[in-house]
């Protein structure tokens, strides 16, 4: 059965609207610490999660909210968890990097690469207790250099585990360009660990759905793990308040605080010859510029907008869906912000 774009769009929209509301709460100071959104990767999450069924498990990274919402976890519980309320999804104990749902067999971790072992373990349990079920590992391109993730791919291969390894490649690990710290190629690497691979445009939810469908069916029928390499962008950069994005958005406001110490430092006696200093400066400037020119700043890469464009031919249904989604999210946050029970 081909993907129903309306369903997929509804999933993506739900997550997008939810995360936009979260961003507001974060800016208002109601959410503490780091906050990594999944805005920009919704097509990957939706394309995969829409293929799941009861008994399937998910190992999530530091951007786990989208997957949980799309999987069906109560959004009010998630919102109240992010707010740190005692009746949140995890009683306020986990927070946004440690969202857990036993009911949906979904576990998050803030440790980069830990999704690998977790998905392998979920898949192992599936082999015994829920044959035909699968486990998903969602992680980024940066995680591909974490040993335990590579180990887990090998383990899934030799134990023939029903794991679908989903790499959401946005090209970045915080401020580091992945190409600069990653040798070989991700697909070759997965193959060298015995895992079948497939590559898709992660902005295209249909393409992801198709690839995921095949890989997940393969896993369900005992044919072992697959690695999906899917490309995407993250609109907010690494986390809310990301300095590089702040600079790009407000260069005049943000630059002095960075440029002044930089200039003082480059001028200080003692240290490298000028040539090396300039090379250092070039690195810094290149980073800032690459954020400014980054495709993650380009709304043409927005997976939600892309699928929406194909649905615009049915405007009434589209607006109805969107109104409905917005209402639901408004309702979620109205409930979520209700007084804390004591």
């Amino acid at each position: 059965m081909p993907p129903d774009l309306w369903t997929l769009y509804a999933l993506m929209l739900k997550s997008r609207l939810f995360e936009e509301a979260v961003a507001k709460l974060w800016h208002d100071g109601l959410i503490s610490g780091e906050m990594h959104l999944g805005t920009g990767e919704e097509a990957i999450i939706a394309g995969v999660v829409a293929n799941l069924r009861e008994g399937d498990a998910m190992a999530l990274d530091h951007r786990g909210t989208a997957a949980l919402l799309m999987r069906g976890v109560d959004p009010v519980l998630v919102a109240r968890e992010l707010l740190g309320y005692p009746d949140g999804l995890c009683g306020g104990m986990g927070g946004h990097m440690h969202l857990f749902s036993k009911e949906y067999l979904a576990a998050s971790s803030g440790i980069v690469g830990a999704e690998g072992p977790a998905a392998a373990g979920f898949a192992l349990a599936a082999q015994y207790l829920r044959p035909g079920s699968v486990a998903i590992a969602f992680f980024g391109d940066g995680a591909m250099n974490q040993g335990m993730l590579m180990e887990s791919m090998n383990l899934a291969s030799v134990w023939n585990l029903p794991v679908f390894f989903v790499c959401k490649d946005d090209g970045w690990a915080i401020t580091t360009k992945s190409v600069e710290v990653t040798g070989g190629g991700l697909n070759e690497r997965a193959q060298g660990l015995g895992v079948a691979t497939v590559e898709v445009d992660g902005r295209d939810v249909s393409a992801v759905w198709e690839a995921a469908h095949i890989a997940i069916e393969r896993a369900r029928s005992g044919q072992g793990p697959t690695f999906l390499h899917a490309h995407c962008v993250h609109f907010e950069g690494h986390l809310l308040g990301f300095p590089m994005v702040r600079i790009a958005d407000h260069p005049l406001r943000e630059m002095p605080g960075i440029a002044i110490p930089l200039t003082l430092s480059i001028l200080r006696p003692g240290g490298a010859p000028l040539r090396d200093r300039l090379a250092g400066l070039r690195t810094v400037v290149a980073s800032v510029l690459s954020t400014m020119r980054d495709p993650r700043r380009d709304s043409a890469n927005d997976p939600v907008a892309r699928v929406r464009a194909t649905l615009e031919s049915v405007p009434v249904r589209l607006h109805e869906l969107e109104d409905q989604s917005q209402k639901e999210i408004d309702h979620v946050f109205a409930s979520a912000l209700m007084e804390v029970p004591s």
């Binding site: 009683g91 036993k102 830990a114 998905a119 373990g121 207790l129 335990m148 180990e151």
Partner: protein, 336 residues
């Protein structure tokens, strides 16, 4: 009553539990050969070998436990937990807290520890205090076959992660594999009562968190675990001839500590000697002094622990690990 060797007893209790509970599975490096007796009874589906990928398979054990299995994950040695400590530090131990108490990871990590057979400093560590520092981990260190089997059974019924430490000097199979290699030309100072002893006909769990008084004594209380218990008992016996009455409390569980038992025996004698094969600083020996002081019990205190990286040379090793000699000296110091 039956009598069993140390590892034989643990395997026997494990077999009993596996027969009762089909969700118990076993994996680790070389496990098909190392646990071949379980393999031929429970089949290759439940007894698996792994690649040398501790982070992957220990982490997988944690998640498999969350998803309904009861994995027993074996590691070659506690020293090697260094390569995969994340699975314990940031996952197994924290799932229950993170999930608001809604989800647990009942995984048993069975791992050999300890020295005394000349294998050097990367292969003879104890590290129970290091592990016990992490809230959310249960750490068991049996010192006899009966406790080995009983605590294994308790571990398999416990609703959370358990580190089950199996001292290599007590284990007939590990000591042969790593120490003697079936040679008759080497001798190790193996505590007889730890290596072999009576075990029940049918295994019952030994409660987690309950210490056991191996010997009563009115002058000095020695608190210890594992092989240290036997060294302490030897010392106590030797000191008897000097007219010093030494009690020996076997903690059996390092975390959670049996605070009540510790306080009770120390209050009685007013003298506490901790014998700990793990490193001295920032570990079990310090924690025990805190437990006593916190209760407002004042006591004289000394400790006989491993202070440095464990040397390879047998003679240096003997001087470094807690020995009868050092324990006797520690007791005498407390009696001054």
């Amino acid at each position: 009553m039956r009598s069993m060797l140390f590892t034989q007893a643990i395997d026997d209790a494990l077999a009993q539990a596996m027969a009762d509970n089909p969700r118990i599975i076993l994996f680790g490096e070389d496990i098909p050969l190392l646990r071949r007796n379980l393999l031929v009874r429970f089949g290759p589906g439940r007894v698996r070998g792994t690649p040398i990928s501790e982070s992957a398979f220990l982490g997988a054990g944690v998640a498999a436990a969350m998803a309904g299995l009861r994995p027993v994950v074996e590691m070659y040695m506690v020293d090697f937990l260094g390569v995969c400590a994340d699975a314990l530090l940031n996952h197994a131990s924290k799932i229950e807290a993170f999930s608001g108490g809604k989800w647990t990871a009942p995984v048993v990590v069975r791992v050999p520890c300890g020295g005394g057979y000349g294998d050097g400093g990367q292969h003879e560590q104890s590290l129970w205090g290091w592990l016990a520092h992490i809230p959310g981990l249960t750490v068991l260190v049996p010192s006899t076959p009966a406790d080995g089997g009983g605590l294994m059974l308790a571990a398999l019924q416990h609703d959370g992660p358990v580190i089950f430490l199996e001292h290599k000097l007590l284990s007939e199979t590990w000591l042969e594999f790593l120490g003697s290699g079936a040679r008759s030309t080497v001798q190790y100072d193996v505590p007889a009562d730890g290596a072999k002893g009576p075990v029940p006909q049918n295994w019952e769990p030994v409660p987690i968190g309950k210490a056991f008084l191996r010997r009563a004594g009115g002058d000095v209380t020695i608190v210890s675990v594992g092989v240290g218990v036997h060294r302490a008992l030897e010392a106590a016996q030797a000191l008897e001839t000097e007219g010093i009455s030494v009690g020996v409390l076997d903690l059996r569980t390092v975390s959670p500590l049996d605070n009540a038992a510790v306080r009770e025996v120390v209050a009685l004698t007013g003298r506490l000697l901790v014998v700990d094969e793990d490193y001295e600083g920032f570990g079990l020996s310090g924690e025990l002094s805190a437990v006593v002081l916190e209760a407002g019990i004042s006591c004289k205190y000394a400790r006989v622990c491993t202070q440095t990286t464990i040397p390879y040379a047998r003679q240096l090793e003997d001087q470094t690990l807690p020995s009868k000699l050092r324990i006797c000296a520690g007791v005498r110091q407390l009696m001054q």
